[in-house]
Structure formats: C-alpha cells, structure tokens
Amino acid sequence: MSNEKIQFDVVVVGAGLAGSTAAAIAARHGLDVAIIERGRSPGGKNFFGGALYTHSLEEIYPDLWDRKPPLERPVTETGFWFLSKDGMVKATVQGGRINNEPIDAYVALRAKFDSWWAEQAEEEGAFIIPKTLVTDFIYEEGQVVGVTTDRPQGDIYAPVIIICEGVNNILTQKLGLIDHDIQPTKAALAVKQLISLSPKTINARLGLPSRKHGMAISVVGDVSMGMPGLGFLYTADKAVSLGVGVTLHALQETQIKPYELLQRYLEHPAIAPIIEGGQLMEYGAHLIPEGGWKEMPKLFTGGAMVAGDAASMVNALHWEGTNMAIVAGKQAGLTAIEAHQKGDFSAQTLSSYQDGLQERFVMKDLRQYRRMSKFLANHPEFMEIYPTFLNDAMGNFFTSFGKPKRQLYKEIWRSLTSRRSLLKVIGDMVSFGRAVIGI
C-alpha cells in the first residue's frame, strides 16, 4: 500500500454539516468519497448554540424521521428576550405557524448530531478517515489534485476537493480563495454552558407544557454589556444551553474575559432562577464568521470548492448557518457529480456550484444582509439603549403608583429621549431597515 497512490473521486475536508452532506450526495451517486476529519470521530470538534432547521435536513434525507435523528426538543416558542440590568421584556411567539408540522427547527447538540449525520453519509457509501489533519494541497499543472495530511505517507488524491474546514479557514486562505485572515470586526466569539436540569424543572421554569416543547431565544441588551453581541437560550431535552457572543473587536476593546461575561449573564436576576441547582455538563467556545457576503471567499477554483463556515455562510441576524452549510454541501456534492460526468474539473465546470447557490436562499439572503454586520457593529444602541428603554417603558406602562397618565407618558418619552435624540432614533430605524432590506 505504501507506494500506491491513495485515490478517491472526491475528497471532503471536515465531517461537519457541510462536509458530511457533500459526501452523502456524491456517494449516493456512486462516487468514491473520502471525508477527512481531524477529530477522533465526526462531531468531536463541533459546537454551536443552537437549533437546526428541519427544511435543510429533510432536503438531504426525505425519510429523515424514519432514521431517528438525535435531535433534542422541537422549537415551539421562539423570539427575543430584552434584558435590562435587573429586568426583562419578553417578545416570543408560540403556537400558530411555529407549531405546524413539520416543526421548523429543533434544538440539537452538535457532537451527537454531527456524529449521526456523518453515519448517514457512511451509509450512502462515503469513507470516513478520522484523526487526520489536512495540512496542504497537491497541485498538478496549477490545478488542485489532492491533499497532504499529518499522517506518514498520508497524501490523498482526488480530482475534486470540497473544503468544509470550518470558521478557521486556513486551507481556504492557503488556496488563495481569500487574501486575508478573519478580521476582528467580522467574527464573534460565542461561549456557552450546557447546564443539566430535569425535564420537569425545565418545563416548570420556562412554562413549557411537555418535553415535546422547547425554546430558542435570542437575548438582547444587558447580556452583552453594550458590546455588539447577543445572548441565547436553547432547551435540550434534559439541559439548557446558555451562551453569549460578542465580536472579537469588542473583546479587544474592552479586554473582558469571555467566561466572566457569560457568568454575569448566568447570574442575571431574570436568568439565575431558570438554572438554579443545575449542573455544568459542558463549557465551550467557538468563532462565528459574521462578515457574511462581504467576507466570502471565492467559492471555487480548479479542482476545489469551499462550503459552510469556511465560506462565511452565516446570517448573523437570523442565526442561520447550519442550513446554509447543508444546502451548500449538497450543491458542492452535485457539482462534483457533474464534473465527474464531464470528466472536467476545471474552475469553469466547478463554477456551477456558485450558480446553483445563487438560485437558493443562501446567496440571496447573504447578499440582502450584506450590510448587517457593519450595521450592528456601528449601532451599539440596539444592544444597550433600546432594550433598556423597552424595559423602562413597559415597566412604567404597567404600573400605577397613583400617577396621572399624562405624567406616565412623559416619563416614558423622557426615558427614550434622555438616552438618544429623536432624530437619532429615526436615523437608527431607517438604517436598520436598510440593512434588513439590503438597499
């Protein structure tokens, strides 16, 4: 074996959601596919909030539910919690279209889920090579034809390489698909604790009717101490995930310790009672690429394509990324099949990967939201002033204290205008609208 060239039809780098999807699609078509994973097994390096979107999972496996995916609770209540220093306004939605089958999102734990997702790719015929780090590319006549790994005699050849290496896109940079490393304003560091609680306790404290109900909450305001960032809460079956993410630039400017910021969130008077008596099951941290459209690398070159976090496929406002990774992985897998049918692996053939994505929500949304990360970085008032104002306004409106109502409205008005001038408020709303609509 030592002198024989190890050759596959397709090599996928990384057994995350994008990678295992790309591999499954290509293997299903009969191609010889290897997935190279640096972890001990798929999932071991993967980490998120978080919830997965059913539409993307079912797009790959229409018989998803027969396969018994290791998902946690369905998301039956979702929305925002606006934190002030010592209070909170909740704006969540439940029932209605949130409760229609199939439920749109499920809470998941990535180490468990990704390991299962990779098994599905294996069943389609993909071959997983774990405990192996891809270190570089092998070129012939200017075209990528394989990868080098950290194993002895570990060169692996394939005419198509699909790079799904994750947010630290070192290989994507090496390949020249992007000319710079991640910028501090274009990525957030999220830290999270998974805290175990009995299902009964979770249900009672969060007002969930049963274990078949769950929450996905974005937490805005005091949680990020005025920095551009958000907190979150997700309900697993027997645990809750609580975390907070802020931009690397904010960490740089404030020099706070991320785990202290998280602890402060966990001790907030509105949060602490939810997790009281719970045990820490796992802590972790992960970067989120939030540069979106503007930080996207070139998605293909001769012999290679890039998908998922490595390609900056994250919608920071809507917390979408896993669904984009899965759809992009599928599109890359389909393009690999097309290239094999043509027997041509040039950039021109692989460009149909990007053309395909342009027709999907992936590129449409990323383009529409291309100004969002800059907007959020430049408008800290959305993290600080407005959530506090909302708490003040609601607190005032729903209390009496024997005050005439005219005075009440004056106080509410003043609690806004003392923090931000009316002109600026209008400006903020207009620029938020522009960032969302993408004009």
Binding site: G44, V167, D181, A239, K257
Partner: protein, 106 residues
Amino acid sequence: MDKKNKVNREDLPEVYIDDILMSLKYYTDEHEFHLEIIDPKVCQQCVDKPCIDFCPVGCYRAQDGDTVQIAVQSCIECGTCRILCPYFNISWKYPRGGFGVNYKFG
C-alpha cells in the same frame, strides 16, 4: 483611545476557569505543541497582554510579571488568539489529528 472604561469591569463576577474546564474532555498531545509564542521578547514588551483576557479558556497566563506562558492542554482550538494577538506573535496550528478538545455534547 482608552475604551476599556466603556464596560464596567467591577460588574463582572470572578470566575475560576479551571473549574469550568473540568467539564471538557481533552486528548493531550505530549509530543507536539500546536500553539507557540514566536518571540517571547515581543510579549515582554506588550503592555496590555490582551491574550490573558480574550482567551475563552484562559490558556495565556502572565509569568513573573512580563512573560507569557501558554497552557496548551486547555486550548479548544477556537482561533481567537491568532486573530487578536496585537503583534501576531502566536504560531497557531490545529493539533495533530485525533488530539485536542473532544466535545461530548457540542
């Protein structure tokens, strides 16, 4: 441009990160360090030493006042230090295949 005052640090609780790291499973590479300080003199001259704060697992610790030591075995491979070291003085690689953090839940 001292923005450190933007956040009231007194508002932050003290956390013993080592206690929290007990919840993580690692496979430590005894033979190769995947993180290294390129030039220790640069760290000595770095006044703020922000790595001590921004690392989410507290890998970076001040030693004898002005040098910085890395507790590589705690690293969770997030990449923050590669991006935020003001002097790009950290040689950042992934651990060899099979080594490093191994999330049970993720």
